[in-house]
């Protein structure tokens, strides 16, 4: 039986260290109560579209944080499927990646990413970036009302 899940934020990140730092920064500024962390792109797709054997998403998260380089299915492919889905396409997706490569940035925007953040190496900057994007997308931003 599927367990119902209602995370505010979905984080798809293969590096545990980066996930820990991200979650820590979001929690530190009291931006979230509930975050779901998945480690690869296939898991994320299964979770979002109910195609896997495990837990299935029951409500659309307020925000999806997506790493670019992921095992099995990479972040751009996940992004493409999210933005192609009627139910999910309005959900803000933020690419958080180490890559400053122009091709990645261009591709992500072509696929409809809402923001593209290059993760700073400096922890202070990193925490600040996470705080700002959390504040903006979770507090300032007004998402469309769910249709059902």
């Amino acid at each position: 039986m599927n367990i119902k899940e209602y995370p505010e934020v979905l984080l798809v990140e293969d590096r545990e260290e980066d996930a820990v730092l991200t979650i820590r920064a979001l929690k530190k500024y009291n931006l979230i109560n509930d975050i779901k962390w998945l480690e690869d792109g296939q898991h994320a797709l299964d979770y979002l579209f109910g195609t896997g054997p495990e837990k299935v998403l029951q409500a659309i998260p307020k925000l999806i944080l997506l790493d670019l380089k992921l095992p099995r299915v990479n972040g751009l492919e996940v992004l493409e499927q999210i933005k192609a889905s009627e139910g999910l396409k309005s959900t803000p997706v933020i690419m958080m990646t180490s890559s400053k490569e122009d091709v990645d940035i261009k591709k992500a925007y072509e696929l409809g990413v809402n923001s593209y953040i290059v993760k700073p190496i400096d922890f202070m900057n990193f925490a600040d970036a996470v705080k700002q994007l959390g504040m903006y997308w979770l507090m300032l931003n007004q998402p469309p009302k769910p249709t059902q």
Binding site: R15, E17, D18, S99, D122, M124
Partner: protein, 464 residues
């Protein structure tokens, strides 16, 4: 000369026929010219000269164009046949490997004749041509019917309707055998001086043409080989470039992540365990953080260095004054508030180049000027330009820390630094990026300075 020698190679019973023999062996370097004997000869010679000049011009034109050697040899043969209207001429080509002669051009000889002598051996007494090729000397058989050289080919010659054959070896400029030029007549005939001059000319001209085509073919072959080589190298290079691209991509992604963890978790330790760490412990963690950040800068700089050398250069007119101004304004915003800077921006000549790359160059120079004058109370940066040696030279002068001229040659080398990281942080890549970009624009970079007395960095770019 060796006329008698050649005769002495004839067998004894052949000597009986000596009186009938019309064959004479002339040395090819004998002087055929002789003074004109009468006015009518003068006129004939003038006409012949005109014909020769005209034909020579036509053949030279063919040589200049991409006409093949067999067509050109036929033209030479026909031009000689025009000079001596009663003659039939042929060119045979020498094959070194088989030591034989093959038909080169014989447009007025019957096919059966050409086929029959195609591939005849080179050797003493094998017709006129085989003998001429063998001795490298002119061989004149005045009467094919009686000459021993032609004993084996006489019937063939009669069927082709020829009774005399003079054959001049065609020798290359280095003296190698190239082939033979032969003049046949329908009746027994002894060459006159004008004939000897003509056949010598024909052979020389044929050699020039053959050598020309051979060299042309070699050049073409080299050119094709080069083109193939260039294509192969280009492919290898673009492959290497792709690999480098993939490499720098993964460097940019994979090397940053662990650094972020090192810096991040050190910071977590500083935050969460501050009460358990003494000053030394905190200092140690800060050192770890700082080094991780420095490593991050190094990665960024190396990547931009490798990207700049691979990026395509897009030229446009550059408003250098605007570029300098924008860069300075932007960098000044990032300066510590206490750093007072006077910026003197003169009227700068425009240039041509890649806007993004040159902006990077200007950024590196101005940020250096700011960085190395951070300890100078009254920092002054002066930017000027002048025209010299057909290019614009831009100079950025500061009154900062300067450098020791002794180590000037190390300034633009990648990873080499003239200052301690404690005094002025840096990766040692900035100026090597500058040098690379300016050199890609056909310019040069230079620096002047003295320790503690500021520095002036100059770079040249094309004039608009």
């Amino acid at each position: 000369m060796n006329t008698s020698e050649s005769y002495s190679t004839l067998s004894a019973n052949e000597k009986l026929q000596q009186s009938h023999k019309r064959g004479v062996i002339y040395s090819s370097d004998s002087d055929p010219s002789h003074p004109a004997e009468s006015n009518s000869i003068d006129i004939i010679e003038r006409d012949l000269l005109r014909i020769r000049e005209r034909n020579r011009a036509l053949i030279l034109e063919e040589l200049a164009r991409d006409v093949d050697i067999f067509t050109i040899m036929r033209s030479i043969v026909r031009s000689i046949e025009e000079e001596d209207a009663a003659s039939i001429c042929t060119i045979l080509l020498y094959d070194k490997v088989t030591n034989t002669l093959g038909t080169g051009a014989a447009p007025n000889m019957p096919d059966f004749y050409n086929d029959a002598i195609d591939g005849i051996s080179v050797g003493d007494g094998i017709g006129s041509c085989g003998s001429a090729a063998f001795s490298k000397k002119l061989v004149c058989v005045d009467n094919i019917g009686t000459h021993p050289y032609w004993a084996a080919f006489k019937e063939l010659a009669f069927r082709a309707g020829v009774q005399s054959c003079w054959s001049q070896p065609i020798l290359s400029s280095t003296g190698d055998m190239v082939g033979t030029f032969a003049i046949y007549h329908r009746e027994p005939r002894t060459p006159k001086d004008v004939d000897l001059e003509r056949i010598a000319y024909a052979a020389r001209f044929a050699n020039l043409a053959i050598e020309n085509r051979r060299i042309r073919a070699e050049i073409l072959e080299h050119k094709n080989h080069l083109e193939q080589l260039v294509a192969e190298r280009t492919e290898a290079l673009s492959h290497a470039n792709e690999e480098l691209e993939a490499f720098s991509y993964s460097v940019s992604h994979d090397l940053r992540a662990p650094l972020r963890a090192i810096a991040g978790f050190s910071n977590i330790m500083l935050e969460d365990y501050a009460d358990k760490l003494d000053e030394d412990g905190q200092k140690t963690l800060n050192t770890i953080v700082n080094n991780a950040l420095r490593m991050g800068m190094l990665i960024d700089d190396i990547l931009s260095f490798s990207k700049l050398s691979r990026a395509e250069k897009v030229n446009s007119t550059l408003d250098m004054k605007a570029i300098f101004k924008n860069v300075f304004d932007e960098l000044l915003r990032q300066e510590p508030a206490g750093h007072k800077v006077v910026f003197e921006l003169g009227e700068l000549a425009p240039s041509i180049g890649d806007q993004a790359m040159i902006t990077q160059v200007v950024t590196n120079f101005i940020s250096n000027a700011l960085k190395y004058s951070r300890n100078t109370p009254e920092t002054k940066i002066i930017v000027s330009s002048k025209i010299a040696h057909g290019s614009v030279i831009y100079a950025v002068k500061d009154n900062g820390a300067g450098f020791d001229e002794k180590y000037k040659n190390k300034l633009f080398k990648i990873f080499s630094r003239l200052h301690n990281d404690r005094d002025f942080e840096g990766t040692g890549i900035g100026l090597s990026i500058v040098k690379k970009v300016i050199e890609r624009h056909g310019g040069v970079v230079s620096a002047e300075g003295a320790l503690g007395q500021g520095a002036t960095f100059s770079f040249s770019l094309p004039i608009v």
